[in-house]
């Protein structure tokens, strides 16, 4: 895995924006793995690899409901980093390892979110007196500080995943092992998405719509011979 400095900078910048989008700023859904991976694919010059990695990790992300104070993995920046690993080779052989790297990164991302939330709380405790006095400048400082910390977290997470990806690229897997990894991660990704959909559907008419979607999807897949 060799990246030009400008590509590396672009990936880290994109990973930073993606990480910020998950919670702190805008939530425009660029943090969805499908979007993060697709654009990362453009940046590394292999759109297909980006879309494949993004689609695979999206299956895992569909299992997550980012509600309230829930703890969840951060899939966006790791998808960006893993796309660099998958690029340039046949996706059937690179996707499994890239997916595994992305999932490791997602766990690290989830932990980093907890650290961020704690550091935000510490900053607020430090500004308690100013907040109690109604100082608008204190609120602004806290807000800009929180966003800056999340930007740093996201960029660092992308760098770490790129580092893991660079290490993984040195592992020489034979073709059957690389293909087996792809099949394994795809199989479990499908379980994640389907499990999440079944849980969300509950027992009501949404479950009937889920079944209808599965049936229509299967018919289309057969019809177009995917």
């Amino acid at each position: 895995m060799t990246l030009a400095p400008v590509t590396l900078i672009a990936l880290v910048g994109w990973g930073m924006l993606v990480g910020l989008d998950l919670v702190s700023v805008w939530q425009a859904m660029i943090a969805r793995p499908l979007v993060a991976g697709g654009i990362a694919g453009v940046l590394v010059g292999d759109v297909e690899a980006g879309l494949r990695v993004g689609a695979l990790i999206e299956l895992f992300a569909l299992d997550v409901l980012p509600v309230g104070a829930a703890r969840y993995p951060d899939y966006g920046p790791p998808t960006v980093g893993a796309t660099a690993l998958a690029a340039g080779g046949p996706w059937e052989l690179t996707l499994g390892l890239a997916g595994a790297v992305s999932l490791i990164g997602a766990v690290l991302g989830g932990l980093s979110l907890q650290l961020l939330r704690r550091s935000n709380a510490t900053a607020i405790q430090g500004a308690a007196a100013a907040l109690a006095a109604g100082e608008g400048s204190a609120i602004r400082r806290l807000q800009y500080g929180g966003v800056a910390r999340d930007a740093l977290r996201s960029a660092l997470l992308t760098v770490i995943v790129l580092g893991i990806a660079a290490g993984a690229a040195r592992i020489s897997l034979d073709r059957p092992t690389a293909a087996a990894l792809t099949v394994v991660v795809v199989g479990i990704g499908l379980a994640a998405a389907l499990g999440g959909a079944i849980r969300s559907a509950g027992r009501g008419r949404r479950r009937a719509w889920l079944l209808a979607g599965l049936a229509v999807g299967a018919v289309i897949a057969l019809a177009v011979n995917l």
Partner: protein
């Protein structure tokens, strides 16, 4: 008008200081600042109290935070008693959280992501992603504008305004679309990802899917699928090392 626009833009970063103590509180205070500027001129004492209240504990779905922000600011300008404004803020947390989560996180997002994933699997490429971003953000921005405007118009009567609005109906109506969208994507993803492999490999993947569903149903642990995937990758690598 300018202050409303500034508040609206700041609302898009309402979770910028998310934490377990005040949750969205500081972000709400940041978004409230431009709207409270006129109060500073007319009633500095009230303004100082309003700024303190605006940054206290608050939590809801970020897409609907404008309803609470607008209602709170309107109540401050109307001179409603401070404790009443604080109670309004607290009372709005649960309904705005539940409605917003149902509408966006459990409804619109999985519905649109599912359709986008299906389109990508069918070869639409980056255009599907562009369409997803345009549609989602169009709805999100429109909702944010509507929320702030409705909150500012209703003040203490915001709960009634929400009850009369499109919001509860939409939250219920979007759920089937989410189920359908995700359902649509899964067979297409399975077919697209597994087609290059031999039938036995495809059946093996679907076996892992079934096993994962059972494990998730029985275990239900947080990060269940993620842990299961990492364990399966490790086992695959170990098996390959032993066999070769």
């Amino acid at each position: 008008m300018k202050s409303r626009l500034r508040a609206l833009l700041r609302l898009f970063a309402v979770q910028g200081t998310w934490n377990y103590e005040r949750m969205l509180g500081v972000g709400m205070g940041y978004a409230a600042e431009p709207l409270l500027e006129e109060l500073k001129l007319s009633d500095p004492q009230r303004h100082a109290e309003a700024v303190v209240r605006s940054a206290e504990f608050f939590n809801c779905n970020p897409n609907l935070a404008g309803l609470a922000l607008g209602a709170e600011v309107r109540a401050e300008y109307d001179g409603d008693p401070g404790p009443q404004v604080a109670r309004l803020r607290t009372a709005l947390c649960s309904p705005l959280g539940a409605l917003g989560d149902q509408l966006f996180w459990a409804g619109l997002v999985p519905a649109l992501v599912g359709i986008t994933l299906a389109a990508v699997m069918l070869g639409a490429g980056l255009w599907a992603i562009v369409a997803f971003l345009v549609v989602y953000n169009g709805i999100r921005i429109w909702t944010a504008v509507w929320s702030l405007r409705t909150g500012l118009a209703a003040g203490m009567n915001v709960a009634a305004a929400i009850g009369r609005s499109w919001l509860p109906r939409a939250a219920g109506a979007v759920a089937p679309a989410a189920g359908f969208g995700v359902g649509l994507a899964l067979p297409l993803a399975a077919a697209s990802f597994l087609r290059p492999f031999p039938l036995t490999a495809g059946l093996g993947a679907l076996g892992l899917t079934a096993l994962g569903l059972v494990a998730g149903y029985v275990g239900g642990a947080r990060y269940g699928a993620l842990r299961y995937a990492l364990l399966a990758v490790l086992v695959t690598l170990l098996v390959r090392v032993v066999l070769t």
